[in-house]
């Protein structure tokens, strides 16, 4: 059937900010969908609050709304744009829930908008556990009979949950309805655990429903990615097997494609069930994911769940097979049948087939527990990982080795040499699912454990365990070989050992192993991901390395530029860097280069084979990048290698790559060192007469105390190497400093800590700029809303700056230029300043693409990363101004008066983590970055823009109701005015006694409520925590008490903030945040919030040439 002509415009809903469980895989799918729909001639309207996405680039849709994804805001967009159809299966649970809400409230009917991809009924049959259970049970026509689901009971209150668990027998699984990424779900082993979890789960479910289910802990877990068209053709795109057995969320599991431990009969049974389920649920047009558990002893199959939409697994499956699920799903959603859609990889065969793999794909999760030191790190059915890396090899061992080194976590690659653990200890540790369990398994084997023992401890399928034993056998051969000859090296490489691992086994450095390997000509070849195991010729150069005979890299004449991506998402390095890499690829491809992307993150747009001319799905390590370069250098001229756009990951490789002779372009590694070395950078600042906060480096507590005495408290302390501010703290006294130095960071000569003067009450300013050696172009100046001290990645900020005067802007321009010149930047630089009093201090400079590049680009309608890539390849700012890529005469420091205010707000993952006691972790912002994503609010005025940013990230600010306030003494003075405004707007003010006292003295009527430490009164008067949990408060304002490292006051604050997170109530933790919130509330109360597309804003953002 050809595409539908009865619809002409389609609204696509994105997934909003990156959060745990919903990351840039939805930018990948949404970008594909938008691209396809536009190619098909539809008018595409997009809503997504996340500015760091490629899909929200104005060229991917006809009307792009960077607006909060709430039913109210989407209705306004529908009212304005009047789309014929709504595609909600590309934007994760956020989009699906929004679409269901719009359908149920009658909005879609009112405006005549058809839901395409999946109907509301299908979505509910797939997602509502009771309905899904009935669907599965109804499939009695299947050969082999109706599939089973786990026995379960739906409950609406805690007592019922307990009763159900008694009937099914402990342990039981709790699954709240309609939550994303498994929020509130998990295993309960006893009644105490059960009651605590049931409360959270019931609360997390928008329908207050929790399913209590029999345990299938330890069973084998599989997933199928299924596609269906409107003629009822169904194909299975990919099977995925979880190495971690049932009990660990698939997002937190090591997963493998294809499934490796099923016979054909068993696989076909899953396939039959998968097809029957998608038909019965009625996802008519698009993709979905179905999960199964298989009892390893009997083969009994249980259908776990389905997602009636594209998912993280479908992104993985797309990358793993070369079958672009989202792209095909979008085509199918507008009426094409699978046999009408060509397979782009072969060009000659249709999409109505099932990819077959002649390689193995391994995905490993990346966690961030180091950011949440109090969080419990046992893995459960509630997803906790923040990113993932994927690797492709010709066998499991090779793919696993590559995947583990792709994580860029020194603890991840299997430790094959060195001290041997105690066997029982290793087995005990391996029995608990956690980040690093696989390492424990390997150490257990090294300590002499058998496959049977490890299986007993972990329930990991013996096939995988046997493969790990094989890796150890290979390691043994490497260690014991009289000399490293080509045969031994090749054997090691074929089982995924890195040069570093081989070096560990032989007492050699990785460089020595590499030299020897190269001398013996043991080099990888590059194979192609082609969907068909070489049955047909592939046209798409999507490559992976392996140690085999024949390479498939074709020669070329065009000069190539290698772009190194950013690897797995983590806190501090996420989608923003992928955005810059993708932009570089687009700009350089347009400029006539052959772009070659190297990356290992399956969630991203950069690893879409459509993005660059060539794609190498490879780890971003020195070894792997050097080999890719060698392969491309053999294929044709290489004009440059770009390391500055992918964040720290490629930047860390710069020096090594340069010394290996790679033609790095842009800012040189020497210049990068200048910016990163405090001494060298200090010289640059001194030469330009720019002040920086005083600082020092300490290798011991006594040194630290001495430095602190010199520069004065408060001080900002951190380890000398940091990413995303890891380990940073603000310290106010000697005792805390001593503790920090001696216990927290274990400072030493080789690992000193940095101590900076902390500027209290300073305004932090972030600048992104381009420099070509001659000219400076300020991309944007962002004024932070939280004071300096909150990590810039976690702080909300506004562009244009809302309070800075012309004089400060001039100073910023002069200073930025001096730094860019002094450091030697060619391309992008990000500088953080602090304005304290009238003095502008330089905090730090990063000569690379920063996290804020996409935000600035969206807010100013100038694509900085594209410009940067061209500058790196030799273009000048003058050229780019003339070409219209940059503004002709002005830059981002002088935003036209017509331009909107853009507010960026960070999104924190606090609701994902719990302490081992089951409390939520503290929500305080600090110098350590903890946010996973960001949103943008865009409006003519700051107040509404800020309000939108809050709606998009945390839920709307209240316009009436009750505010609870408790602020630190140092904040009380600044809190008076905003609290007065809230009172004037009619808010009822609740406060702790100290704060209430101050407010009353200033004429604000505040009612005192009990602190948690005071407990419920004899008359039953509740504490503030109880009130928050009972949703009797609409806004919480709680700023931390500086410097107190313990004590009941701090504990009270923690309790209040945790309760706000659990109750999902907006919680402001800084006075500046309070002021902004009040501005937002006032603006919202004044008038209706309007929406406006980027395409409409565009001309207003850039001055007329």
């Amino acid at each position: 059937m050809p595409k539908r002509t009865d619809i002409s415009s389609i609204l696509v809903i994105g997934s909003g900010p990156i959060v745990i469980g919903q990351a840039c895989e939805f930018d990948y799918s949404g970008t594909q969908a938008c691209r396809v729909l536009r190619e098909e001639g539809y008018r595409v309207i997009l809503v997504n609050s996340n500015p760091a996405t490629i899909m929200t680039d104005p060229e991917f849709a006809d009307a792009t709304y960077i607006e909060p994804i709430t039913p109210e805001m989407v209705e306004r967009i529908i009212d304005l744009e009047r789309p014929d159809a709504l595609l909600a299966t590309m934007g994760g649970q956020t989009a699906l829930n929004t679409a269901v809400a719009l359908a149920k409230s009658g909005v879609l009917e009112k405006y005549g908008v058809e839901l395409i991809g999946a109907t509301v009924e299908a979505i509910e049959r797939g997602e509502d556990r009771e309905k899904f259970k009935h669907v599965v049970a109804s499939l009695s026509d299947l050969p082999g009979g109706a599939p089973e689901v786990a026995r379960s009971i739906m409950c609406h209150d805690v007592d019922h949950v307990v009763e159900a668990a008694r009937e099914l027998g402990f342990p039981v699984v709790l699954r709240p309805s309609f939550t994303m990424g498994g929020v509130g779900s998990g295993f309960a082993h006893d009644e105490v655990e059960l009651r605590a979890m049931a409360e959270i789960g019931l609360d997390a479910s928008p329908t207050t429903e929790v399913l209590v289910e029999e345990s299938i802990l330890g069973w084998k877990e599989f997933e199928l990615e299924v596609m269906r068209d409107r003629k009822d053709n169904v194909v299975i795109v990919c099977s995925i097997e979880n190495l971690d057995p049932m009990g660990v969320h698939t997002g937190d599991s090591i997963t493998v494609a294809p499934a490796l431990t099923l016979t054909d009969r068993e696989y076909q049974r899953l396939r039959d069930i998968g097809i029957a389920v998608i038909r019965a649920v009625g996802v008519d047009t698009g993709g979905c994911n179905i999960q199964f558990a298989v009892n390893p002893a009997t083969g009994r199959v249980i259908v776990i769940e389905m997602n009636p939409r594209v998912s993280r697994s479908s992104a993985l499956a797309s990358k793993a097979t070369g079958f672009p699920i989202a792209k095909i799903a979008a085509k199918v959603a507008v009426g094409y049948t699978l046999d009408e859609i060509p397979n782009d990889i072969t060009g000659v065969t249709p999409a109505s087939f099932e990819p077959t793999l002649d390689y193995v794909v391994v995905k490993v999760p990346r966690f961030a527990f180091e950011k949440f030191s109090t969080a419990e790190d046992t893995l459960t059915t509630h997803m906790k990982s923040v990113g993932e890396a994927m690797a492709i090899g010709r066998n499991f061992t090779e793919a696993l080795g590559k995947a583990l080194r792709s994580l860029e976590d020194s603890r991840a690659p299997l430790r094959l040499a060195g001290p041997v653990m105690d066997k029982q200890e290793a087995l005990r540790s391996a029995s608990r699912p956690h980040d690093g369990r696989l390492q424990d398994v390997v150490q257990a084997f090294r300590a002499g454990a058998t496959v049977a023992e490890v299986f007993e401890a972990t329930k990991i399928d013996p096939w995988f365990l046997d493969q790990l034993v094989m890796i150890l056998d290979v390691a043994h051969q490497v260690a014991k070989a009289p000399g490293l000859d080509a045969g031994v090296l090749r054997l090691a490489k074929r089982h995924g050992l890195s040069d570093a691992q081989i070096g560990d086994l032989r007492g050699m450095s990785p460089g020595q192993v590499r030299s020897l390997r190269w001398a013996l000509n043991v080099r990888p070849v590059y194979k192609t991901v082609d969907t068909c195991a070489a049955e047909f010729a592939a046209r798409t150069p999507y490559h992976y390395s392996t140690y085999d005979e024949e390479t498939e890299v074709s020669s070329r004449t065009k000069p190539a530029v290698l772009i190194l991506g950013s690897g797995p998402n983590r806190i501090g390095q996420g989608i923003e860097f992928d955005y810059s890499c993708v932009h570089a690829s687009m700009a350089l491809s347009a400029a006539g280069y052959e772009t070659v992307m190297v990356n290992c993150n399956p969630e991203t747009v950069s690893t879409d084979y459509d993005t660059s001319d060539r794609l190498y799905f490879e780890p971003l390590t020195e070894e792997d990048v050097l080999e890719v370069y060698a392969a491309e250098a053999a294929a044709g001229p290489v004009a440059g290698v770009i390391v500055q756009l992918g964040g720290q990951t490629p930047l860390k490789l710069a020096a090594a790559l340069q010394s290996a002779g790679l033609p790095l372009v842009g800012t040189s590694p020497q210049a990068i060192d200048v910016a990163e070395d405090r001494g060298e950078f200090g010289k640059v600042l001194a030469a330009a007469h720019l002040p920086a906060p005083r600082f020092g480096m300490a290798a011991s507590a006594s040194q630290a105390l001495k430095i602190a005495a010199e520069i004065g408290y408060p001080v900002l302390v951190r380890p000398s190497y940091v990413l995303g501010g890891r380990g940073m703290e603000i310290v106010y006294d000697d005792a805390t400093l001593t503790t920090y130095v001696t216990t927290v960071t274990l400072a030493s000569e080789t690992n000193p800590i940095m101590i900076d003067k902390f500027l209290d009450d300073a305004t932090e300013i972030d600048v992104d700029a381009l420099f070509d050696g001659q000219d400076l172009y300020i991309g944007g100046i962002m004024e932070h809303i939280e004071e300096a001290g909150v990590h810039s990645g976690d702080s909300a900020c506004a562009l244009p700056p809302i309070t800075l005067g012309a004089h400060v802007i001039d100073q910023i321009r002069t200073s930025t230029r001096a730094i860019a010149e002094g450091v030697g930047v060619r391309g992008l630089i990000n500088i953080q300043y602090a304005l304290a009093g009238n003095q502008l201090y330089v905090l730090e400079a990063n000569p690379r693409a920063s996290r804020t590049v996409p935000f600035v680009s969206k807010a100013t309608n100038v694509q900085l990363a594209k410009a940067a890539a061209l500058i790196m390849m030799g273009a000048t700012i003058r050229d780019l101004r003339e070409q219209g890529i940059l503004n002709l005469a002005s830059d981002g420091a002088s935003v036209p008066a017509s331009a909107p205010v853009a507010v960026k707000e960070a999104v924190m993952p606090f609701n994902r983590f719990q302490t081992s006691e089951g409390h939520s972790v503290d929500t305080l912002l600090g110098p350590e970055m903890r946010s996973t994503g960001e949103v943008m609010g865009l409006d003519g005025s700051f107040g509404i823009a800020f309000a939108k940013s809050q709606t998009a990230s945390y839920g709307s600010l209240p316009v009436a109701g009750r505010v609870f306030v408790s602020v630190a003494d140092s904040d009380k003075r600044h809190a008076i005015l905003p609290m007065q405004m809230l009172a004037d707007m009619g808010f009822e003010i609740l406060a702790t006694s100290g704060t209430a006292h101050v407010l009353r003295r200033n004429g604000i009527d505040a009612q005192v409520v009990r602190k948690r430490s005071e407990g419920t009164s004899a008359t039953g008067e509740p504490t503030v925590v109880d009130m928050i949990l009972n949703h009797e408060v609409d806004l919480v304002v709680n700023t931390p008490y500086s410097g107190a490292s313990s004590g009941s006051t701090r504990q009270d604050g923690y309790g209040i903030r945790s309760a706000a997170v659990m109750a999902d109530i907006p919680c402001v933790t800084t006075v500046q945040g309070l002021i902004a919130a009040v501005q937002g509330i006032a603006a919202v109360r004044k008038g209706r919030i309007t929406v406006r597309s980027l395409q409409d804003w565009g001309p207003l953002m850039r001055p007329r040439p």
Partner: protein, 377 residues
């Protein structure tokens, strides 16, 4: 890790791969073909259609689930040799009773592992299926090449006699018996009569030399010709037999080789594909419904018949019913007389094993055709 025995693989055009022995040691020759299924090696190895062929598995990990007592498609392994990249040392499956290498060694099947199977596959794709030798005895490529060149080619090979049953046997109907089917074993897979039996058919599996009289003596409701190895153009007896069946108006169903025989009996020709279809992911369109099914294929030859045209034959109107969407190869034929279906065949494997079950409806179609014939006879 056990010490490895070196092995060598030489193609008739001289391309050589060095690897390690897998399964039995020794020397073997056959036609090199690649199979792209990621599951079902036990079914593949025991499929008689692979007789005299050296199968290259494109899926790298083979042997993961070992060998069990239920999944054999015939009484033995038929492949002439097996080429895999990464055999699993130990199986993991609750049904496994032994490992694949043990089973190969027990049946004397010579294999090679550790070679670049993708390079070999690409070579076969570009140059076409060709003769090959594997040896653990003679590691000199030149010497092995001369032996390869002496081995017989697949074109012109009549292999049905090698794989067919010597004696007729009966698979009873499961449940109520509705039909009697005479099934000519040209290399039949056990899943085929098993599925027929599930559809109420009593299946008489007959040797390939069976005569028309022997068939009519069974008074069958339908006749079935199975899959099998070799060049269909050499199967003169089977073609002749089928013409008698068609002339008698007995409903006919054919799979794979049985489809090629059907084509030849109807007056079409067959030809050898460059490298064949061997996989379980092949899209086929049923031209009657427009639906696409994902099917299991194992064929090196195909029928040459015009698509979209009804051809008058002495047995009725013949037409192409199914087409492979990857390369537009004829994947199914049908014969109608007075608008009623009297015979059909598919080039692929509705019985799957290994493979998807999408085409299972064809057994219903066979049953319906027989019922229709009986009602109108």
């Amino acid at each position: 890790m056990e010490p490895t025995v070196p092995a060598i693989l030489v193609l008739e055009d001289g391309r050589t791969f060095r690897g390690q022995s897998f399964g039995a040691t020794g020397e073997t020759f056959g036609e090199a073909v690649f199979a792209t299924g990621m599951s079902g090696y036990q079914e593949t190895l025991t499929d008689p259609s692979y007789a005299r062929q050296v199968v290259v598995s494109t899926a790298p990990h083979i042997g993961n689930t070992g060998w069990n007592d239920e999944d054999d498609e015939s009484s033995r392994i038929w492949v002439a040799g097996y080429v895999v990249r990464d055999p699993s040392p130990r199986p993991s499956s609750w049904r496994a009773t032994r490992s694949l290498p043990e089973q190969l060694a027990a049946q004397g099947v010579v294999g090679i592992c550790g070679i670049d199977t993708r390079a070999l596959t690409r070579h076969l794709r570009e140059r076409g299926a060709m003769r090959v030798g594997i040896s653990t005895i003679d590691l000199d490529p030149q010497a092995l090449l001369s032996k390869v060149l002496q081995a017989p080619a697949m074109a012109g090979a009549d292999l049905a006699g090698e794989v067919s049953t010597d004696q007729p046997y009966v698979i009873p109907a499961r449940g109520e018996k509705r039909f009697t089917v005479a099934a000519l074993d040209l290399g039949i897979k056990s899943m085929t009569p098993a599925l027929m039996s599930h559809h109420g058919m009593e299946v008489h599996v007959l040797p390939q030399s069976t005569t028309f009289d022997q068939i009519t003596a069974l008074n069958p409701d339908g006749v079935f010709f199975s899959n099998g190895p070799g060049d269909p153009a050499t199967a003169e007896h089977a073609i002749d037999l089928l013409r008698q069946v068609l002339a008698a108006g007995i409903p006919y169903f054919g799979i794979c080789f049985g489809s090629q025989i059907f084509g030849l009996a109807l007056g079409f020709t067959t030809y050898k594909l460059k490298y064949g279809h061997r996989g379980i992911n092949q899209p086929v369109k049923d031209l009657r419904t427009g639906m696409v099914e994902i099917t299991a294929h194992n064929h090196g030859f195909a029928v040459d018949a015009p698509v979209g045209v009804e051809v008058d034959t002495e047995y009725g109107q013949a037409s192409v019913s199914h087409v492979g969407l990857n390369d537009q190869v004829v994947e199914g034929l049908q014969l109608t007389r007075d608008g009623r279906l009297v015979g059909f065949s598919v080039q692929y494997h509705p019985e799957a094993a290994a493979g998807p079950h999408d085409a299972g409806y064809l057994f219903d179609r066979f049953a319906d055709m027989m019922a229709d014939w009986r009602n109108h006879a």
